[in-house]
Symmetry: C3
Subunit: 663 residues, 3 copies
Amino acid sequence: MTRQRLSTCYYPEHVPEEIWAEDAARMRGLGLALVRIGEFAWSRLEPEPGLYCFDWLARAIDTLHGAGLRVVLGTPTATPPKWLVDRMPDMVAIDANGHPRKFGSRRHYCFSHEPYAQECERIVGALAKAFGTHPGVVAWQIDNEFGCHDTVESYLEAALLAFRRWCRARYATIEALNEAWGNVFWSMELSSFEAIELPNLTVTEANPAHRLDFRRFASDQVVAFNRRQVEILRRHAPGCVILHNFMGAFAAFDHHRLAQDLDVAAWDSYPLGFLETSRSDAAWKARYLRIGDPDFQAFHHDLYRGCGRSGWWVMEQQPGGVNWGAWNPLPAPGAVRLWTFEALAHGAEVVSYFPWRQAPFAQEQMHEALLLPNGEPNEAYHDAAQVARELAQLDARVETERAEVALVFDYESAWAWSIAPHGQDFSYLALALAIYRGLRRAGLSVDVVPPTRDAVSGRKLVLLPGLFAPHGEFVEALAASGAVVLIGPRSGSKTPHFRIPPELPPGELRALVDVTVRRVETLRPGVTVPLADSLGRFEHWREILMLGAGVEPVLETKSGEVALARRDRVFYLAGWPDATLLDEVLMRVLDLAGVEWLKLPADIRARDNGEMCYVFNYGPEPIDISALVGDVPLLLGDENLASCGVAAFRRPMRGFRADADRA
Amino acid sequence: MTRQRLSTCYYPEHVPEEIWAEDAARMRGLGLALVRIGEFAWSRLEPEPGLYCFDWLARAIDTLHGAGLRVVLGTPTATPPKWLVDRMPDMVAIDANGHPRKFGSRRHYCFSHEPYAQECERIVGALAKAFGTHPGVVAWQIDNEFGCHDTVESYLEAALLAFRRWCRARYATIEALNEAWGNVFWSMELSSFEAIELPNLTVTEANPAHRLDFRRFASDQVVAFNRRQVEILRRHAPGCVILHNFMGAFAAFDHHRLAQDLDVAAWDSYPLGFLETSRSDAAWKARYLRIGDPDFQAFHHDLYRGCGRSGWWVMEQQPGGVNWGAWNPLPAPGAVRLWTFEALAHGAEVVSYFPWRQAPFAQEQMHEALLLPNGEPNEAYHDAAQVARELAQLDARVETERAEVALVFDYESAWAWSIAPHGQDFSYLALALAIYRGLRRAGLSVDVVPPTRDAVSGRKLVLLPGLFAPHGEFVEALAASGAVVLIGPRSGSKTPHFRIPPELPPGELRALVDVTVRRVETLRPGVTVPLADSLGRFEHWREILMLGAGVEPVLETKSGEVALARRDRVFYLAGWPDATLLDEVLMRVLDLAGVEWLKLPADIRARDNGEMCYVFNYGPEPIDISALVGDVPLLLGDENLASCGVAAFRRPMRGFRADADRA
Amino acid sequence: MTRQRLSTCYYPEHVPEEIWAEDAARMRGLGLALVRIGEFAWSRLEPEPGLYCFDWLARAIDTLHGAGLRVVLGTPTATPPKWLVDRMPDMVAIDANGHPRKFGSRRHYCFSHEPYAQECERIVGALAKAFGTHPGVVAWQIDNEFGCHDTVESYLEAALLAFRRWCRARYATIEALNEAWGNVFWSMELSSFEAIELPNLTVTEANPAHRLDFRRFASDQVVAFNRRQVEILRRHAPGCVILHNFMGAFAAFDHHRLAQDLDVAAWDSYPLGFLETSRSDAAWKARYLRIGDPDFQAFHHDLYRGCGRSGWWVMEQQPGGVNWGAWNPLPAPGAVRLWTFEALAHGAEVVSYFPWRQAPFAQEQMHEALLLPNGEPNEAYHDAAQVARELAQLDARVETERAEVALVFDYESAWAWSIAPHGQDFSYLALALAIYRGLRRAGLSVDVVPPTRDAVSGRKLVLLPGLFAPHGEFVEALAASGAVVLIGPRSGSKTPHFRIPPELPPGELRALVDVTVRRVETLRPGVTVPLADSLGRFEHWREILMLGAGVEPVLETKSGEVALARRDRVFYLAGWPDATLLDEVLMRVLDLAGVEWLKLPADIRARDNGEMCYVFNYGPEPIDISALVGDVPLLLGDENLASCGVAAFRRPMRGFRADADRA
């Protein structure tokens, strides 16, 4: 069991060297164990081509290490310096409109540009050789937030040529590609791989199969780009943790695949920024303005816990107001502490506040930090100090149990449904999050997992909403798992080549429950399909099912179509459920699965990681949680849990059981 | 009299040849008479430059013909294959921002690109020679949906050069052009035709006269492009019907002019898709979600009936949910049948369901069809079967009477008011449709006609809302017609050179009713001008009139300006009427014209084509229509007409007369 | 004292020469004293390169002058003719997306294009030599509406090269620039001035310091462009007034700096157009639909009065409906007269109606004028005639007193907060206008001034909301002024290099009131921070203050943070106040400053220019203003002031004093 620790992100190049030691001492004094540095410093590490200036970094590492901190060192490849761009001006990505994405901010490179990739190997190699065995360096972060600012896809000629090679490798013959994509449609057939174009600037939408393969290709390019650095670091920095800091609400490349090359999947958690940029309605945004969506972070914690090979971190934790939302409110008092504990409750090994000190210049000068720009503590400094004390007191360690319930999340599905949403507001991420909210309302601790055999084995309940094109092997694994399975809506509705399955949706999944999706429709906001007996509604998406042998209807719409079908332990849900309907459906599948669940008060969320039970109050008023706690002593918090409050105890949760309610 | 028939659209190239015969047999079994094929098949007809592979098409035609079907053969010029684009990369259009519109979907060509036009002549010539006299081929469709995806206008250099030639032909001297456009304004004067630019990417809006001429030019290019194919087909396919499939809510080129070269004006009718993409408000879209706007299709039926030389068809009839709306609901049970009968009631010779079989791949895989992707019948299959039976039972034939009422629709007006709407929500099409709705609420059967002498002669009532710049000859024809005429709003407000007439609006129309429009204004949503006595309101647009000799005010606004003026049989309406005001105005003009009219229940629509009376229920509940039917036996439907219900009988309609109501 | 006069804008090149004399006579008959001509006539003045055709202009001037009118002659550089663009195609600006801004409307030039600037010198020189000493020409307008249609910034290579020179001049060394901009952030460091790029097309936002310097540079280019013409005119047109016509709601270059080179700062006042394009909500737009925002014009009058060296004019006064709003309503009867008197009340020397005659062609054909397109008077003609009569009767002269209250307006602040608004709806102009509204509700006559020593000396009250980076000298001037000062929100929050001040905001202003802004936040629409005791709310923006020694809290939020702080005569306001809170704050600062203020009825506005008191009714109903007037005889208007009514009298206003109200 690993002890859970706190960290921060530090930019020694932003401040005079004279204050490094003081900063390091304050970090230690605050109770931080780690510090991330270096990930945007290329222009200082190599101010001229080939002129390595690593001495300042060495001194910074020594200073931090000397104060008792462990260093996470970032590779600086997210911000190539201007002299490099001037040497290879065609390295910058081209956007979908054909415009170059110029130097002047960050991430101004195309993943397919081989000379740039080689430059990255060079600088990373030099850094790895210099610091790979430094005793103070315990982890390496590769690049920074791959894909941020919509940078996964590039329409550079280098990308086009690489995509043609990728297609050749995948399909071998152009006839096979034409067949796979259905290029006979609209005379889109190609006579050679050299005839392939990138799917931008077409008169109307390009072939979704073409677009999906381009998304797959683009994802593979990110994975390959990362792997080249991993290989260098494995060679020169043995024993170091290798990680990348992923983002929230972002699925533009396959994080599961990329993370297979990492030790730790980290992510950058900005609850208020993400709420502001989310699709939630204005009332929701106003309600959770200063504390953030009560489920969004938890979902991502569970997602990234399922990504890494050996652990997961929050690499950047919002410590105050950010600069990048359309509006940027301040967190409620206590919110930073709540977010930290929510991450720790989900098993984070490290939670790292970004950044240590608010930079008074450049793009992020309005991004708050643990310290104000003048070096005085901001509010989050005290939050962090409190968490550090409480962590020590709790002696919190990571021991996350395998959850009984697994929610399948699949990156290809996200791409597929963004390419062809069918309804303007159909978002795979929103669908997965909607289902997750239901599970969390039921007090459950959930694993968010990829569609693999390993991920679903040993579960009591597996849910697969909107799973684009499950592979036969995975379907077999589901069948073999013994779990109760909830399929749909939209699951299995395509083959991997983005075609409707010959036997109609849910395609391969019909092996589990013999339903046929004959028709589907998408619903404008405000239009819903009511269930019989006021058991809720479908919104956004609904399907018309035909039931095969042995399949029984469980719920029906008011007009008599099957809304939920079941064969043995497998359910099929024929639409996007609102909260009422989802709770109805989950009650049935959870009970059948033998999973104990709760009926939490609104705004209360809970997480049991096997080692510890946590309860959180996301609402504006105190809430009595004594029924949850029972007579176990609280290690943190009160039974009348304040707004932003965190309670912790060492026993399985009870109370708020739905049984009584239903009886 | 032609018997009315059903059809479908078929893509033999999408399915294995083995099932063609079965498909053909099922089509016949269903009661279909025609089948359209071939219009997107260029890559299969000519897989390499000059290598014609027509054998499969010949076998497909033979198979279909052999089963008793007549074939409509499409020319494949909407989808030039990749090898052709690679040979002439500059054939693709350039959008208004200067971006090429690349290969990868369809319509990736510029109408002004002469080498591409010659390639079209070549392939069409080859096809026409091969199949022009095939006994199974009875009609040819040229290209597909000209202008779809905003493809009429192109900013390619070829278009620029052609536009300069067009301007030279129209104006002869650059001085004449400068004078016509008013180029003295803002020093826009040009010294030669070579100085003319396309009106895109200007700092602020370009001269509307410049823009209008560019729209005229672009329209002429489409007409010329079409005519080159017509001429080839007339030569090699004698006796065949030549048609094009126009679209709904689309006026980017002059359909009246293009259709003069055709035998049949067909259009593609997608009631739910069009409703979703319309400007109607959310409540209206929700109300008619699954049945479509009750007037939109009828308006287009009447419009296209007035376009063709000898008939009109629905070439593509929505059979289920489509893929291209922002949201895509399923039709209500019976809606497909209702739409089919609405078209037949308006005199369609053919209604053709698109498509026969849902393609499981590529861009339109979510577009429903008569068959599901697995070949099983979808709901519309049964609707079509029922219509086929009912048609046979009714022995329905086309005999559309010339309507007493003509609504003038003019493509130049649509361009003019989109170039210079003056109010952001001023749409000519919306204005024409608003007036049409009033006529349809009054139970009238209407012809939608171009502003020509022939079109208005012999009418009892002619309406010309928003007619941009009527020609003197047309004004004389109106005067000579003896019809009651309702002019305005905004009619005659410009000369053909997009100038305010010297004598002020309504320009030439002052010969009919001597009013002067001194001022106009546009009104934000929510701002209206109320009429006196609560007789409704102006919205969007209103005018301040000065009345000449012999002109009397008929209606006034609450603040005393003239809202409706009249001299003898000619009325001038000084604003965009809401439904209440429009009904008031129509009551007056219809009564004066001696046109009998009804006051239909909400959601009921009716159409009398001389041969047969039809009644339709677009509402969600049954409606008693017995007052309409009287004691005539119903051939279809019940007097308590169900939602989506169709009633038909062989007598003029009565009942719901407004007389009683007013008495 | 200058007598206040009326004028119009005339385009002799638009009409046959035969009617010039008649037009001139009508202008005089109407009571107009001046007429502006020529500013778009380059293609007529020089139809071919080097071929000057000034004879027609000479005849036009002679005709107008002969009729007793004085001429304002415009330089035609806003509309270079096509032949010039063809000679130097690279003179057109490039937009931020890299697209050229083509010929075909106006302002199609880049301010940094030196050859074009030389062409301007040539044509202006020729005109100045020809007409500089013409007795009929009394004033010159340079160019037209600099910056209109977003033309200040250009991304042409000429602009890039000029920007690099500008940076070199400002920073001397690239190291200094790197330090100033904080380029160490994200490795944005540059190694030479040649490495500088323009801040467009970056992957995500460019460095705000970079962007601000680019805005400063772009502003300087406009100033320099204007100055070159000024110098020519000073040489060849001695004694003539030199002016430029600025715009409303426009701050893209530094009008204070440019106006230092002018005699008169004129602006173009379009109350209805500006209301329609403003950010005001729909209810506000509907309420003032036909009369315009009651404070917007006044604010700009006060702003431009503070710009010119020796006077200010309204160069273009909206006379009817315009063509360029999203919707274009007609003014209420009397609105044109009210707007004219509002300008005169604020001290305009000249109010000039644009245009004399509605052009029946080209882009502005729907822009109303004093005359209809057919030459008949439109309504505003009669309004102008009435104003002319009333002006003569009032013998109105310009004598504007220095106001006791000064509101600081600063162009750099507008750029800074548009670059980094932090909240999507944070607009500096909106903030300044919001504060101005409060002052105007209090019946005050205000000067809007730049942040300079001269501008604030001798005031009783100075307000500086949102002042980006006040210079130390200005802060000293404020301290020395003895005025009551209201600082904030957001004032002093940056250094001139767009950095957070080392001592935190309000930076240099802490010398006046020792508060520290520790944190800030922006608030979504609908989210506010309530004050204690229901004294209003913060919206959009709020700050968390720490008070230094001697600073006392005056107002607090409901949750106890300081909302208004004070030390002696200096107040700091910690957020964007709603109207209720603003009135509370102003009451306190005005009383302390000893400024007498009123509590005007809603929709009543007043202006005392020392020479005359004016009262205006912007509401839809008559309002009793007798308490304001007392027993002084009214020279204009009634005590029961009608909608759109104007009252004038020669005594300080009384009544509606808040004292009674508060007692």
